[in-house]
């Protein structure tokens, strides 16, 4: 009798997670990635870098196509005309004063983008995380009163910016409300929080997010999208010609 109870308990312990989480970690990440990927988008926004001396604001406009292609042009005074072109496997910079195209490879990708807490490598992280990470659904938690799935993701490939991530994903909208980025040894490097979302064209889109570097004190980067249009015809082709224009 005693053995029967133990066997039943072991069986239940195996079954319960399956019945409680009727969705798998991979499916959650796939849905979270899907709501971030548009056929096309055109956006205007700003990056606010805050440190102990104040706030530095860089404004930009950006275009995206599919999962991997994006073009970002800075419009603020100090860096006006600087552009970043990302394709599936390449990242290019353009400096208008020097009329120079720079192809980012290797270690150059780890450089900070405009002194922010975002590196060029952060920009190259693909939006197809299911193929890049081992994903484990850890449980559920509330973030700012919103029910979220909690997942840990351990990188299977070396081409992603962080070896380990923990994410809190809205159970209803699949918005990522919070994310933590770790080293391989489990040291917390960065934290991202979504501060504001809006429904645009029937899709929930994160309009404001805060990225704080946990290894620094008194610094944070806030990314704001002031205006975004999705699934519209674009005038850019994500080419070197667009980059150097």
């Amino acid at each position: 009798m005693k053995y029967k109870i133990i066997v039943i308990l072991i069986f239940l312990s195996l079954i319960i997670p399956i019945t409680v989480f009727s969705i798998t970690g991979e499916e959650i990440i796939r849905k979270a990635d899907a709501i971030q990927a548009f056929d096309t988008s055109e956006a205007y926004g700003e990056i606010r870098v805050k440190d102990r001396f104040g706030v530095k604001v860089s404004t930009f406009k950006s275009w995206t196509r599919g999962k991997y292609e994006s073009l970002l042009e800075f419009t603020s005074l100090a860096e006006r005309g600087q552009k970043i072109l990302r394709t599936e496997d390449e990242l290019y910079l353009f400096y208008p004063d020097a009329e120079e195209l720079i192809r980012m490879q290797g270690s150059m990708l780890r450089q900070s983008m405009l002194g922010s807490d975002i590196s060029y490598e952060d920009m190259t992280g693909g939006k197809d995380r299911v193929s890049q990470y081992d994903i484990v659904l850890e449980g559920e938690e509330k973030v700012n009163g919103i029910d979220c799935y909690v997942l840990t993701m351990t990188a299977r490939v070396r081409t992603v910016p962080y070896p380990k991530e923990k994410v809190w994903i809205d159970k209803e909208t699949f918005i990522v409300w919070k994310a933590e980025y770790y080293t391989k040894s489990g040291r917390l490097l960065k934290e991202m929080e979504t501060l504001r979302v809006e429904e645009i064209g029937g899709r929930m889109i994160a309009m404001e997010s805060r990225i704080s570097d946990k290894m620094k004190t008194d610094t944070e980067t806030i990314m704001v999208i002031n205006n975004i249009k999705i699934n519209i015809p674009l005038s850019v082709d994500f080419s070197l010609d667009d980059l150097s224009w």
Binding site: A78, D97, R103, G115
Partner: protein, 391 residues
């Protein structure tokens, strides 16, 4: 001088009108500078003053298919104490469905390299005499007409016509015109750039460093080049070019050998503790047929020059760097250490110290054996501390 003042007044008077339709920006750098120099009787003394420059840019806005920029650079003072006003850029570029046209004075970045770039056949980026305090070491501009034709998304063909610099030669003969074409493409993970440039400016070519003949008149040079860039852990790049005189000359082989150059470089970044990074860059310029042995009194004529750079980025705001141009065959060098701190938006505190080491007649020297008051300013050492502000 009158022309320069008139140009400045014209620009300043135009500012309110231009500002209404343009993006106007000013990039100002001012430095407290102490340096070792000589007076008219060649006695060495220490000088102190404020130096700097302001770059005013008027960029067009509005039209998606037309872009224009006019940029003036006001430097104060030159050796005579008079501000120097330069028209750095003045161009309009227009984008058509299948090609792009640029007309005016602008920068052309052919080849790869931060200091040494044998692929830069237009401006010739192989000279050791550069200012290592700038964010951009080579920034020459030229009056050009350019047509760029995309071939797919990551390749293009560019053709240019360059007039001789009017400041030096005025509107010269059509035969003095220079022109070129380059192909920019990718093969696998390697970027390939190859081009040809015919340099039609009148030149008196000096090959005294390798031959007894001093000056040869050359009508024009053919200047082919190739440039490759890739990654093997560090990023790498290599460029090569040569100048071939047009027409037949008994000196052709000598000149080709004299001008054949290869430049190559490596760039790598490592993390130095969390949030700090160290970048390493080394570039080498080799002109293999120039002097491989030290010859007194031949500065700038050696076969090899090296540019090493180490830069420490502390967080995102503070940068410490050491840059140097080394002439290893004569053991002379210029070393520049730099510090910059981005405190506020567009505002940086900056400091540089430059020191030369070598014998009096080397490429770089602490005590120059010959001193030209018209062009020489710093003798051995200078220290600058100042502010850079973009508004």
């Amino acid at each position: 001088m009158v022309k320069q003042i008139f140009s400045l007044l014209l620009i300043l008077v135009s500012v309110p009108f231009l500002a209404a339709e343009n993006n106007v920006s000013v990039d100002m750098e001012l430095y407290d500078t102490v340096y070792r120099t000589r007076n008219s009787s060649f006695d060495i003394f220490w000088a102190y003053g404020i130096t700097g420059n302001g770059v005013i840019s008027f960029k067009s806005t509005g039209n998606k298919n037309v872009r224009a920029d006019i940029v003036t650079d006001i430097t104060f003072p030159d050796s005579s104490g008079i501000p120097v006003i330069l028209l750095k850029k003045a161009y309009v570029k227009a984008r058509f469905p299948s090609f792009r046209v640029t007309l005016g004075k602008t920068r052309l970045g052919w080849g790869e390299g931060f200091v040494f770039n044998s692929g830069d056949v237009i401006f010739g980026s192989t000279s050791p005499y550069v200012d290592l305090t700038g964010t951009e070491i080579r920034s020459e501009t030229a009056w050009i007409t350019s047509i760029k034709y995309p071939i797919g998304r990551f390749s293009f063909l560019e053709g240019i016509i360059k007039i001789p610099d009017p400041i030096n030669s005025g509107f010269g003969e059509i035969a003095d015109t220079s022109a070129g074409v380059r192909l920019y493409t990718k093969a696998g993970s390697i970027k390939i750039e190859a081009g040809y440039y015919i340099d039609g400016e009148d030149k008196t070519y000096d090959i005294s460093s390798t031959a007894t003949i001093e000056n040869i008149s050359i009508v024009a040079f053919h200047r082919p080049y190739i440039s490759l860039q890739g990654n093997i852990g560090p990023d790498w790049y290599i460029n090569s070019s040569a100048a071939i005189p047009t027409g037949e000359s008994i000196y052709t082989e000598l000149i080709v050998k004299d001008t054949f150059s290869i430049s190559f470089g490596l760039f790598h970044m490592i993390e130095a503790g969390y949030n700090n990074s160290v970048t390493f860059r080394i570039e080498t310029s080799v002109l293999p047929y120039l002097n491989w042995n030290e010859k007194n009194g031949n500065p700038g004529s050696y076969a090899i020059l090296i540019y090493p750079e180490v830069s420490l980025n502390m967080g995102s705001a503070i940068n410490l760097s050491i840059r140097s141009i080394i002439s290893p065959l004569e053991l002379s060098a210029q070393v520049t250490s730099g510090f910059s701190w981005n405190l506020f938006e567009g505002f940086n505190l900056i400091s540089f110290a430059t020191i030369n080491g070598g014998d009096g007649n080397d490429t770089f020297s602490w005590n120059k054996s010959s001193w030209d008051p018209a062009s020489d300013i710093i003798d051995g050492i200078s220290v600058m501390t100042g502010i850079k502000y973009i508004y």
